[in-house]
């Protein structure tokens, strides 16, 4: 027995030696790390990051499109479990700077960071050729510019932070004008990089950019640049630089004889790690058109396919007011339906606007009527004067680009917010989204 006793004590002493060994660092068993791509990234890693850019371009899409649509009184979101879509975004109650709709601004931060990570990784690797680097950079900068454009659309005169490479030391928001100029420069840098990117991308483009989806053919540096120039034209239009718009449209994929739906698309799949089209109506989210606006559209117009007429009507009430929805959005019907990023139809209407603004009334009317007749509507014959033409273009933009996030931005850039029809008494049109509370807090912080 004595022996056993000592054996046990010896074992106990042995156990106590476990204290002397070092504890091993536990590496993340679930995900790779950002640090793993910052030094000498492989081609496979850069390909994956580039595809991440295409994927992230869909970040914030639903929140942005719906918020911008609701604020601009282009659509209502009959959200049965979130009345703030009705009350706060329509000015019935004060707008909040810490609510879910901040996503219309903040959803675009990550695509910008993704681009910055790719740009930095390209500068610190020797594993790919210069042409390949330019391809990654051109794609990254194009999506960066696009993300910034959405961001500044939401924030309006609040502007955006153009330098966020160091998240702990970002630049202060630039003015609206500076913001647009900054975006134009990012897109121009991208165009230059795409020019030096060789004849093909190092990776296979997603189907919405490759040739998998009708109307898309943007899978090479040259064709992708046409998409880049289209976005740059939109920026120039917002800047009011009509000469530049016209030049850029010439370099874009605009095709006056082509399908109005030409253009790159976001694609979706409901199986993870992909996700389903987020703009579909669901049991609780129903996006409806403004009855009085749609009632003004000729019944023969093909653009009626964008809504499904409701009979009986669908009702919504919150905060003491209510609305009868007659036209339920119907652009996307399945979880895999693609969403257009920018379409030929918009490019043609941009050209029409350039012509109207620069005194070429006849050209402008011709382009307006191209859109109308292609859509099965009657041509207009007696529109004269710049303002009337611009208003006519805005009417076409309303239906042609309905629920694509344009109405509010268009009316604001043309100083016509006051002309937006208020469908429900008491509603207001906000001029811009509030700066998210975290943005305000960061700038107001006192470093201790």
């Amino acid at each position: 027995m004595k022996n056993l006793k000592y054996k046990i004590f010896a074992a106990v002493l042995g156990l106590s030696t476990m204290q002397s060994c070092e504890l091993e660092v536990v590496n993340d068993p679930n995900f790779p790390s950002v640090g793993g791509v910052s030094e000498n990234a492989s081609k496979a890693q850069l390909d994956a990051l580039a595809l991440g850019s295409y994927s992230l371009a869909r970040n914030g899409l639903a929140t942005y499109t719906q918020v911008v649509g609701v604020v601009g009184k282009e659509v209502f979101n009959f959200n049965s479990t979130e009345s703030r879509w009705w009350t706060e975004l329509n000015g019935l109650r004060p707008i909040d700077n810490s609510a879910f709709y901040n996503g219309a601004t903040t959803g675009f931060g990550l695509p910008v960071r993704q681009a910055n990570i790719i740009l930095a990784a390209c500068d610190k690797t020797t594993q790919v050729t210069d042409a390949q680097k330019n391809a990654y950079k051109g794609v990254a900068n194009t999506f960066k510019g696009l993300a910034y454009l959405y961001m500044v659309n939401a924030q309006g005169k609040n502007g955006i932070r153009l330098n966020v490479e160091d998240p702990f030391n970002p630049s202060k928001p630039a003015s609206y004008t500076e913001s647009l100029a900054g975006i134009a420069k990012i897109l121009d840098d991208a165009a230059g990089q795409l020019d030096a990117a060789g004849s093909s991308f190092p990776f296979t483009s997603p189907s919405g950019f490759g040739t998998g989806v009708a109307g898309s053919n943007f899978g090479t540096p040259t064709s992708f640049k046409k998409f880049n120039r289209a976005i740059a034209a939109r920026v120039a239009l917002y800047q009011g630089d009509y000469t530049k718009v016209k030049t850029l449209l010439g370099q874009s994929f605009m095709d006056l004889a082509g399908d109005l739906n030409l253009g790159p698309k976001h694609t979706f799949s409901p199986s993870s790690p992909d996700f389903a089209n987020p703009l579909l109506n669901t049991s609780s989210v129903r996006v409806v058109g403004i009855t009085s606006e749609w009632d003004a559209l000729d019944k023969a117009d093909k653009r009626w396919s964008k809504v499904a007429v409701q009979n009986p009507t669908i009702a919504y009430s919150a905060g003491g007011s209510s609305y009868e929805g007659k036209y339920l959005s119907n652009i996307w019907k399945a979880a895999t339906d693609p969403v257009a990023i920018i379409r030929n139809e918009e490019l043609i209407l941009m050209l029409a606007e350039v012509e109207a603004q620069t005194g070429s009334a006849t050209e402008a009317l011709k382009l307006i009527n191209l859109i109308r007749t292609t859509n099965g509507n009657k041509a207009l014959d007696n529109v004269t004067g710049k303002d009337n033409l611009v208003n006519a273009i805005l009417d076409e933009r309303y239906f042609s680009l309905w629920y694509e996030g344009h109405r509010w931005v268009d009316m604001r850039r043309l100083n016509k917010l006051a002309q937006i029809k208020i469908p429900v008494v008491g509603m207001k049109v906000l001029e811009n989204m509030e700066r998210p509370v975290q943005e305000v807090n960061w700038d107001n912080r006192i470093v201790k």
Partner: protein, 992 residues
């Protein structure tokens, strides 16, 4: 050596051995005041290490010297000393001791101390306190209202539990453990809430992340409260310091029942009961105009079609009667070498909503065996199978949860299924009866908790002893959760891929091993007594969970893998902690008891896994009444002053270290994208210090006792998200950035108001409060928790309480952070009153009332009812002040404070109080004269929970609710909840 074979289980009482020259055998019985034998009483020869404990009938037999004095002591009874003299039979009656001064309380990882010598206010609850009144479903529920300094809030009323437990205020702001550490018989157990994907099924949250909005029970629910002998709660850092790096939120030490030797005793208990909704909320009448205004043409059509046929859908869903059936069978017994406790129990409780319920089958075996005279072995094994149908309450974004949908469902709808079982569509999104009857939300857990304790007495002389204690154990659980929304539900038919099924598996293993040495030394002829302990600890967690989530299911298919569209996830988590500790306790004749100790810990959850953090502690207690003889002439029977200081820490939560690259997919190709949260590899644990001091006194032979405690608990280096500007693509990183203090008072009184043979009346009032303040914050102030400032959020700001609730409107529209302050989630104070009355010897009545005074609740519940037109006072017009606006409409357009500074009844938080009669019972123990010799005991009784509630809360069913489960900040949000449940039970227990 032979004598040591007689050592009883309570051998840790023994200090030193002494040799006795002449000896004889005395025997006898120890009875309680009712004449029943008390098992397990320690019978010890004074000033020696010789002793035994009584058997199951309270009998003992012991060899003693002729001039020996026997000390009889047992938990819950006043100790007694008897001089043996010439007698060979000694029968003793022990009286129940309200103050429990002699009970043994944990003082270190391997040592114990008598309560009368304790320097901390360690709350201890016995099985009588926990389960003696009524049968609680879960252990946390059994503690509620019974402890000073504990804020324990139920997350809801669905069967199966779910509680948020905070001791002495806020110990973390969310990035460390907010819930205390639970240790069962030396095994560190898991008390997390497992995710099951319900919040994705009803879109309460976006993305695929695990969420507290799944509304699951915390896994303490697996522990059968009936197995518990006692619970000791180390509330603050001063008491819990020796637990080091995991003790910031307090430590709950649970000791389960053990065999006491003697005759095998069989006990059988059965509860039968019912559960019902305490009160309802809706019921406003409808008119055609109102139906049209709120629910449009479809509403008007339904209203007209109803033609006066109305149904109270709230009662239809929440008005069922739950059934409670608990059975338990235990065996205890053994001989002088081996003793055992075996308990099998089955609890079955259905909820007030059809198809909700909780069952738990638990089987426990606790074995004690003396291998040799110097080596004791204790083995504990507990297997649990629990099965919980939680139903559908809480937040929702797809009209699925009936808790969310009932507020919108007007009485004029016709929702009953037709003869073929088809449920009509509802114009407000979903038919709640279809969800109740057809949707599945089930969580099953199989769990094994097992531990081994080995005690080796290496040395045992007259003056000193050396004991090694090796203990280890594991907590292994395997969870399976299933969610199913059939594809033909109205809400699913509106989806692109109708039907939702998720199968979630979780496997969690916790293990711990500890080796300690305890040396005691009592110099001859000195009043000093030294206890030195030292040891090492290692513990770890290995967890893996995975799910498959399917959308787009063929009709009738509930298997997630048969869906059209999938999401799946596998997640791993592991960590290891190591610690070393040493402690010295000095006792000067029970007059002054001082102790000091230190623990060093390191963990892989810290930025530097090999950095040791030190946690010192020190305490002094002095029994003033033992100095001189002044106390013997005064009414003061006990007077103790005590002061204790200690440090603990809280580990960073898993994942804080990592900057992840997430995986995304587009068009069948995979891509990489960064997480918006940056990792921090420099993160340090959150550290707490606490100074606790107080006074305990007893009057009139301890018939009246009091324990008054003050504490100041400071927490440093709290981990905070450094919230960056989100347009940078980084939303936050976690940094050590804040300090806070918790100050509070805890007063526990106890009085045997009446103590006669026919009537005893024990009253125990408990009063406590806590105030928290953030004293340092190096990151921008921020709001957290809740659903945005419109409804109320928690504000983290220097100089203010972290549980302060603020919200819209801003007091200065130009200042984006000038929120209106509504109140504090922590109550101004809590008060509970525990009473126990025995009369005619065999009747026992007990009751526990609990009052919580003025605390803020973020309620969205009434908002839903108002928007739906169904609040009971919706049509009344007394709130707007104009005499014509309906309350339901008025409330949707107001927020802020009224002219008296009170929150308006609108879109904002409320401040409220409640008084609940949490437990009440009446038992009758049928006298021996009636039951005869065949039975040892027969007891019958009735009891209830929530028999009475008073509250001024009008913004929902009950102010105790949490949509976000247990959380440091942000629990206590009432939305889509279910009514408070009242339970009534009949009990019978038989001892053979």
């Amino acid at each position: 050596m032979k004598k040591r074979l007689l050592f009883a289980l309570l051998s840790f009482l023994i200090a030193s051995s002494s040799l006795l020259a002449q000896s004889k055998t005395v025997s006898g019985t120890v009875n309680d005041s009712g004449g029943q034998g008390i098992p397990g009483v320690s019978v010890r020869v004074k000033n020696s290490n010789k002793g035994i404990s009584t058997n199951g009938d309270g009998k003992f037999s012991l060899e003693v010297g002729s001039n020996a004095v026997l000390v009889f002591s047992a938990v819950g009874y006043t100790s007694k000393e008897v001089t043996v003299g010439n007698s060979s039979t000694i029968n003793v009656e022990l009286s129940e001791d309200a103050a429990n001064l002699d009970e043994i309380v944990v003082s270190g990882l391997a040592t114990n101390v008598k309560r009368s010598n304790l320097a901390n206010a360690v709350s201890r609850l016995s099985s009588k306190d926990l389960t003696g009144t009524t049968t609680p479903v879960t252990t946390d529920g059994a503690i509620q209202g019974k402890l000073a300094g504990a804020n324990i809030v139920a997350n809801g009323s669905m069967p199966g539990g779910g509680f948020n437990m905070q001791f002495r205020g806020v110990s973390t702001l969310g990035s460390s453990a907010s819930q205390p550490l639970f240790i069962v018989d030396g095994v560190y157990i898991d008390n997390s809430q497992n995710s099951n994907g319900r919040s994705q099924a009803n879109k309460a949250v976006g993305g695929s992340a695990a969420s507290a909005q799944d509304n699951n029970a915390n896994r303490l629910a697996d522990l059968n409260p009936d197995d518990i002998e006692s619970i000791e709660v180390l509330k603050g850092a001063s008491a819990a310091a020796i637990y080091g790096t995991r003790a910031n939120a307090g430590v709950v030490i649970i000791t389960t029942k053990r065999g006491k030797g003697g005759k095998t005793k069989v006990s059988f208990g059965q509860d039968l009961g019912v559960a019902n909704a305490y009160a309802y909320y809706g019921g406003a009448a409808w008119t055609a105009d109102k139906a049209k205004a709120i629910n449009g043409d479809a509403g008007l059509a339904a209203f007209n079609a109803a033609a006066g046929k109305y149904t109270n859908w709230e009662k239809e869903i929440f008005g069922s009667t739950g059934q409670i059936k608990n059975s338990r069978l235990s065996l205890t017994g053994g001989n002088d070498k081996t003793s055992f406790y075996v308990n099998g129990s089955y609890s079955d409780e259905t909820g007030i909503v059809k198809n909700t319920g909780f069952t738990r089958a638990s089987f426990r075996t606790n074995l004690d065996h003396k291998l040799t005279s110097w080596l004791d072995l204790a083995v504990n094994a507990n297997f649990v199978n629990s099965d919980n149908d939680r139903g559908w309450t809480g937040n929702d974004n797809s009209s699925i949860n009936y808790g969310y949908n009932i507020p919108y469902t007007p009485s004029y709808l016709q929702l009953f299924p037709d003869a073929n079982g088809n449920y009509p569509n509802s114009p407000v999104g979903e038919n709640p009866l279809a969800i109740r009857d057809r949707a599945l939300n089930n969580q099953k857990v199989n769990r094994f908790i097992g531990g081994v304790n080995l005690t080796a007495r290496a040395l045992n002389t007259e003056n000193s002893s050396l004991t090694f204690k090796l203990s280890g154990g594991t907590d292994y659980q395997n969870g399976l959760a299933k969610i199913w929304l059939p594809s033909d539900l109205q809400s699913q038919k509106a989806e692109a891929n109708p039907g939702y099924a998720q199968d979630t598996r979780a496997e969690v293993t916790n293990y711990n091993i500890q080796l300690a040495a305890v040396h005691t030394y009592a110099p001859t002829g000195s009043a000093f007594n030294f206890t030195t302990s030292a040891g090492i600890v290692q513990l770890g967690t290995n967890a893996a969970s995975n799910f498959i989530r399917g959308r787009g299911l063929p009709a009738g298919v509930s298997n997630a893998s048969r869906a059209r569209a999938f999401e799946q996830d596998v997640d791993y988590r592991r960590n290891t902690d190591q610690g070393v500790f040493a402690q010295e306790e000095v006792n000067f004749g029970d007059k002054i008891i001082a102790s000091a100790g230190v623990r060093f810990d390191r963990s892989t959850l810290n930025g530097d896994p090999n950095k040791w953090y030190a946690f010192p502690r020190a305490s002094v207690a002095s029994n003033f009444h033992k100095f001189g003889s002044w106390a013997s002439d005064s009414p003061i029977s006990q007077l103790k002053g005590r002061i204790a200081y200690g440090q603990t820490a809280g580990l960073p939560t898993w994942g804080i270290l990592y900057s992840q690259l997430g995986v995304t997919g587009i068009g069948g190709q995979g891509g990489l994208t960064p997480s918006t949260v940056l990792g921090n590899t420099l993160i340090q644990p959150e550290r707490a210090t606490e100074l606790e001091y107080g006074v305990d006194f007893g009057l009139f032979k301890n018939r009246v006792t009091a324990e008054v405690t003050f504490y100041n608990k400071k927490v440093f280096d709290l981990i905070q998200p450094l919230v960056t500007a989100p347009t940078t693509g980084v939303t936050s990183t976690n940094v050590n950035a804040a300090d806070l203090t918790n100050k509070g008072v805890e007063i526990t009184l106890g009085a045997d108001v009446v103590k006669s043979s026919n009537l005893t009346w024990f009253v125990q009032p408990i009063y406590w409060f806590n105030r928290s303040e953030i004293t340092r914050l190096t990151v921008p102030e921020r709001l957290t928790g809740g659903f945005g400032a419109t409804f109320g959020q928690w504000r983290i700001k220097e100089g203010l309480s972290p549980t302060q609730i603020v919200g819209q409107p801003r007091t200065d529209p130009a200042n984006p952070t000038s929120w209106t302050v509504y109140g504090d989630q922590q109550p101004k104070f809590e008060f509970s009153l525990n009473q126990r009355i025995t009369f005619f010897k065999n009747f026992e009545f007990s009751a526990l009332a609990h009052y919580r005074h003025k605390f803020a609740v973020v309620s969205l519940a009434r908002v839903l009812w108002d928007e739906g037109g169904n609040t009971s006072d919706w049509n009344e017009t007394n709130q707007a002040g104009d005499g014509k606006t309906e309350n339901g409409n008025y409330r949707q357009n107001v927020n802020g404070l009224d002219e008296n500074g009170k929150p308006k009844p609108g879109y904002n938080p409320v401040v409220t109080s409640f008084l609940k009669l949490r437990e009440a019972s009446l038992y009758y123990r049928i006298p021996k004269s009636i039951i005869g010799k065949k039975l040892d005991g027969l007891k019958v009784g009735v009891s209830g929970n929530n028999l009475f509630r008073w509250t001024d809360y009008t913004a929902g069913y009950d102010p105790e609710n949490s949509n976000f489960g247990s959380a440091a900040l942000g629990s206590g949000v009432d939305i889509g909840s279910a009514p408070l449940v009242r339970r009534l039970m009949f009990h019978i227990s038989v001892d053979l």
